[in-house]
């Protein structure tokens, strides 16, 4: 891979890694290159973005690199945050809230298992907004906090009770059945069967 391709790829990796960021080690594994080379390219890209006053920058936080905004744009993000087109709750917060609503009581770890990404920020936001609250402690190691929705949550969504939540219509087996039929189809597809084969099947 040439230098500029690698730079572009690293930019993409930083982008998809989101707020959690990505370590040089992980990047090196993904691109199958030496960590030192990766680090050099990363530093170069970081300097580039800054020098060209780009709208995105690279920040290093706790050993991981991630994309961030440019500090000089802060006043505009403030305006964006207040823009009526933006929903009050971020997508992450809303999703976390729905998980808590349907699976309560639930621990942070369990929420993260469902979302696949860290949920501490979203949980914090929801607690501050009084939409979820601590409802107890799980019996697991470390006695993690169990979260549930608050009364305000019900008011906010105009629900008489938590049992008034609409049925999410997701049956646990759904995906499984789909997967099984797909596998079956794959087996059948592309297989050239002669009538003799079919007859052989018949006698089985």
């Amino acid at each position: 891979m040439d230098y500029s391709s690698l730079k572009s790829l690293i930019e993409g990796l930083l982008f998809v890694s989101g707020d959690e960021g990505i370590t040089v080690k992980t990047i090196a594994e993904v691109v199958e290159m030496n960590a030192d080379v990766v680090k050099d390219v990363l530093r170069d890209l970081q300097a580039d973005l800054k020098k060209k006053k780009r709208g995105i920058r690279i920040a290093e936080v706790a050993g991981s690199f991630r994309l961030t905004t440019a500090t000089e744009h802060a006043p505009y993000f403030e305006k964006l945050a207040y823009n009526p087109s933006r929903s009050v709750l971020s997508q992450a917060a809303l999703e976390t809230l729905s998980i808590v609503a349907y699976r309560q009581p639930i621990t942070r770890i369990e929420i993260e298992e469902i979302r696949g990404v860290k949920a501490d920020r979203a949980i914090h936001t929801l607690v501050v907004k009084d939409l979820i609250e601590e409802v107890g402690r799980a019996e697991a190691l470390g006695r993690p906090i169990l979260y549930g929705t608050t009364k305000s949550f019900l008011d906010y969504f105009g629900l008489a009770g938590i049992d008034q939540l609409p049925d999410p219509m997701i049956s646990e087996n759904d995906d499984e059945i789909e997967e099984q039929s797909r596998l079956l189809f794959e087996k059948i597809e592309g297989r050239q069967l002669s009538l003799d084969d079919l007859k052989a099947l018949e006698t089985k």
Partner: protein, 266 residues
């Protein structure tokens, strides 16, 4: 005859029939109706062998085709130039027209579906990320954490506490302990943080006052609470007038390096 079948799955009789027509397109002149009907039936049999779901819809189509085939075997009336002499089987015509219409329409959606399949793949090749949390850019929480509550309400609650204090300590020696607001803020924050760590983020205003309440202490505590509210370390609510003020630890104090002096030098 050993006919090679590429066994595919068909979404329904229309899908299967379209497949047969597609094959027929290669050399449409050579297709005979009996062959197509036979192929259709053979497919159904093959599907049954593979324990695929041969639904009633497939069987209905088979019956339709067989009816057409049998009609072919019947002797035809001679075709003449005189239309009124030509025997028309209305039922058969309607069935055929309807089937053609359905096939054309179904084929159209099948084409769209395959185009969407390409879009699906292309889209699966790009990734994006969650929006950045804009909360840090917001100097104020857009929603007032004490919404619906006026400072008047707090003042009234405060007066109530004062009256109660006054009732208990009509005669008291004024012994001024120097409690600074900053100290009181720190005490309240420490107390609430400790409780929050134990899983209880709520606290009653009265719990902040000792058994022997002094006016001075109430004032300082109240001002400290106001300061904490302003900094959004706590949020407060009151169910009704003169009721207890319930403080909730928001956990937002981590965004500050430490205590800073209150704006107003008390």
């Amino acid at each position: 005859m050993t006919v090679l079948y590429k066994l595919e799955t068909f979404e329904g009789p229309l899908d299967l029939l379209l497949h047969l027509i597609d094959k027929a397109e290669i050399d449409i002149q050579d297709i005979s109706i009996s062959e197509i009907t036979d192929q259709y039936i053979a497919y159904l049999e093959a599907m049954q062998e593979l324990v695929l779901d041969v639904t009633s819809e497939f069987l209905v189509m088979a019956a339709t085709l067989l009816a057409m085939k049998s009609r072919q075997l019947l002797p035809k009336p001679p075709v003449t130039d005189e239309p009124w002499l030509t025997y028309e089987e209305d039922d058969g015509l309607d069935t055929r027209e309807e089937l053609i219409r359905k096939l054309i329409e179904y084929r159209k959606f099948k084409a769209i579906a395959s185009e969407l399949r390409e879009h699906e793949f292309e889209r699966s090749q790009t990734y994006t990320r969650e929006p950045v949390d804009l909360e840090p850019f917001v100097p104020d929480v857009p929603q007032n954490p004490v919404e619906g509550l006026h400072v008047d309400d707090l003042v009234r609650a405060f007066r109530k506490a004062l009256r109660r204090v006054a009732g208990r300590n009509r005669i008291t020696a004024i012994q001024r302990d120097e409690i600074s607001i900053t100290d009181r803020i720190r005490d309240i924050a420490t107390l609430m943080r400790g409780r929050a760590d134990d899983g209880d983020d709520k606290l009653l205003f009265s719990e902040l006052l000792g058994d022997e309440v002094e006016r001075h202490e109430v004032v300082v505590t109240f001002l400290a609470v106001l300061e904490l509210m302003k900094r959004r370390w706590v949020s407060c609510f009151q169910n009704q007038l003169f009721d207890e003020i319930v403080l909730t630890w928001t956990g937002r104090e981590e965004t500050y390096d430490g205590l800073f002096e209150p704006e107003v030098p008390y």
